[in-house]
Symmetry: C2
Subunit: 126 residues, 2 copies
DNA sequence: CTGGATCCATGTTGATACTG
DNA sequence: CAGTATCAACATGGATCCAG
């Protein structure tokens, strides 16, 4: 996102402009939102997440987790036991973002009829 | 998103579960959010949007607009003049979704330092 | 158990050219 | 002005195998 003329949402700082797109991209990733949601009630281990967010693959879950960790939305704690145990937990930023996603869920709930109706009529029209 | 075991966010209805991912996918699309933002102050024509959301390409703008129209987030009005004139305008659903995006912008503003710091240290560590 | 590395099919994006 | 069509480059997701 470069050279956007009359900024409104993004007028805050030039940096947050790029950031918001990154964040949207991250939560747009196929499993990130589900992971955030699953972590809502407390830390989970890798395979717990894997089961909870099925049918996510190892690779995708790994990737999502690393992305979320990279952005400080979750923490990754390794317990050097055998077998290894790794827990993922939401940070404050993660929880805050999570509640925003709940806002979207609320929107979806509120406008579900509108959207499906629009899709149907669009389908018919085209 | 299929077979998600213990739903929390999405426990509303089975349909809104799929919908929310669609919505996230839509606003995750590279230009949709920008388009929504640009339409905030009133209807715009295709090329006005094109310029405002630069450097979007015709194809991508077209695609975004059709997706947003399909979901009833914007309306498309054709004025059968010559040269042709087409205006895009937010619907109520679109405006509602827009304000949610503003929430994300606020989040980005609030947690920008956290995220950038996290990215930096992640960079260093890896 | 927790992943990393690889291969492959598919989808998405951008550049370009063309049309009513 | 407002798009559509085509093609090539690239990113993404899934499956599978391997390793600490």
């Amino acid at each position: 996102m470069t050279n956007v003329a009359s900024e409104k949402v993004f007028e805050e700082t030039a940096e947050s402009c790029g950031l918001i797109r990154d964040v949207l991209a991250l939560i747009g990733e196929k499993w990130s939102v589900i992971v955030l949601d699953q972590l809502r009630d407390g830390p989970l281990r890798f395979n717990e997440l894997r089961r909870a967010a099925a049918p996510v693959t190892q690779r995708m879950l790994s990737g999502s987790l690393r992305g979320l960790e990279r952005d400080g939305l979750i923490t990754r704690t390794v317990y050097p036991t055998v077998p290894p145990k790794v827990e993922y937990e939401l940070t404050e930023a993660g929880r805050a973002l999570n509640s925003l996603v709940y806002g979207v869920a609320g929107w979806a709930d509120r406008y579900l009829p509108t959207v499906t109706a629009s899709r149907t009529s669009y389908q018919e029209t085209r």
